[in-house]
């Protein structure tokens, strides 16, 4: 599964959720969905805006973690 480490990057940049929401022009509700790993997909435009706001790479926000069922 893909894990979103948005909270980690926000903590590193000392940025609040509402501050990030204002910078990337997303609603707080949508950003919360993303932060809490409830999102089913993320648009490139959103990823680009988040990376620009947090001055990071997509890999800093998204991480692949194998499911327990997939681990041999």
């Amino acid at each position: 599964m893909i894990v979103v480490n948005l909270d980690v990057m926000m903590a590193r940049r000392k940025m609040t959720l509402s501050e990030l929401a204002a910078r990337v022009d997303l609603t707080l509700a949508n950003l919360s969905i993303l932060k809490n790993n409830k999102a089913r997909a993320i648009r490139f435009s959103t990823l680009e805006a988040v990376c620009a706001a947090l001055e990071c790479q997509p890999g800093d926000i998204l991480e692949y973690a194998p499911d327990e069922a997939d681990v041999p």
Binding site: N30, L31, L34, A39, R40, A41, I42, R43, T46
Partner: protein
């Protein structure tokens, strides 16, 4: 613009469906009396099999059409509310399909009963025989619509969770 016109049409249709639904509910208890009156006009005293089957058929179909109309009202409510692509509508359309198939089945049974009882092709030339393919097709249409609404609801849920 088109979205608003669809809501307007749905509102008009909802009024018509409401009126039909109320008339449907009022007609069901009146069926035995109406059939009895028809029987008297035919100049018979004891209730014969034809009128008994007719009364049972009309009562059963009345209940099924009430279910269909109720589901139609529920679907129209969601259209008017601006949230038509939900799982509830897929369930409602499936229920309507089952009701349509039941009407078709009841009409088929009545045709078979007529063929066996009267030993003639006359039952095949009645409106009742026409109900069989018409309601079977309506049921299939409702099933297709149900599948479409289910898929639309899934896509909408996925879209809502795409950030």
């Amino acid at each position: 613009m088109e979205h608003h016109s669809a809501r307007g049409i749905a509102r008009i249709l909802k009024v018509l469906v409401d009126v039909t639904f109320v008339c449907n509910l009022a007609a069901i208890p009146a069926v035995p009396f109406a059939v009895s009156r028809l029987h008297e006009e035919a100049g018979r005293s004891a209730l014969d099999a034809y009128h008994l089957v007719l009364a049972l058929f009309l009562c059963f179909c009345g209940c099924c059409t009430a279910v269909v109309l109720r589901q139609a009202r529920r679907v129209l409510d969601t259209v008017i509310a601006g949230e038509p692509f939900c799982m509830d509508n897929a369930v409602s359309l499936r229920r309507a399909a089952v009701s349509a198939f039941l009407i078709s089945g009841a009409a088929a049974l009545r045709v078979v009963w007529g063929l066996v009882t009267y030993r003639s092709v006359h039952p095949l030339l009645t409106y009742n025989a026409l109900f069989v393919p018409v309601f079977a097709m309506a049921g299939l249409l409702c099933l297709v619509m149900s599948a479409l609404f289910r898929r639309a609801a899934e896509i909408k849920a996925e879209n809502d969770l795409t950030i």
